[in-house]
Symmetry: C2
Subunit: 124 residues, 2 copies
């Protein structure tokens, strides 16, 4: 099995608590990940660290052979359609031996509707 990393990319916020929410989510994902994912990391498009290039370089330094990139965005705006793909293209030009997989963004995830129903069934 190849050394596969998961990189969760969020927008980033001036509000540090929002960035910390993303980091904590990344830790939860890491805790429950299966054997198919070696490491989980988070990156921010802007306003918080690490940025996307830094996070991808860190994955590479840690021996990643594949990186699954998950856009933690609700809508398919410019960031999802352009900015994130461009950052990946730049990285691939420098590190072509590392396979990158860009997934659908959160708002288009097939299981999101069920996630919402799960929350709604446990009101409190």
């Amino acid at each position: 099995m190849s050394n596969r990393h998961l990189l969760i990319i969020a927008h980033g916020s001036r509000r540090q608590a929002s960035n910390d929410e993303v980091r904590q989510l990344g830790e939860r994902v890491s805790e429950i990940r299966g054997a198919g994912i070696a490491q989980v990391a988070v990156a921010f498009l802007e306003l918080a660290e690490p940025g996307i290039p830094e996070a991808l370089a860190r994955c590479a330094a840690q021996g990643a052979e594949e990186i699954i990139v998950f856009p933690y965005f609700l809508a398919a705006g410019t960031h999802v359609a352009n900015d994130i793909p461009e950052a990946l293209t730049e990285f691939s030009a420098k590190q072509p031996q590392i396979k990158l997989h860009l997934t659908s963004h959160l708002g288009a995830s097939a299981t999101l509707a069920q996630t919402i129903l799960d929350v709604a069934s446990q009101p409190g």
Copy 2:
């Protein structure tokens, strides 16, 4: 069983396609909802219609006895902490007979980490 509605509240965007993504998500949630939820609706905090007061009034007009309110937000900022609760309080003052349940926001949902792993396991 009481007449229970689910109201998904999004921020709203100047970009109509983003608002339409939310409306489509609401339709998907409606399609797969169980018998415990009579109707699913979406509302927007700003920049798109319907607003929260209008959407709540519509639920009431359709006979809702309970409304589960789901904040479709990634972070617990001012909108989640203050604006949405205030809108619910105003509605309850006018329609105290309708029970409102405010759930955790999407970013704090217990199953979100698993949702991300599900997406990551189907890269494409």
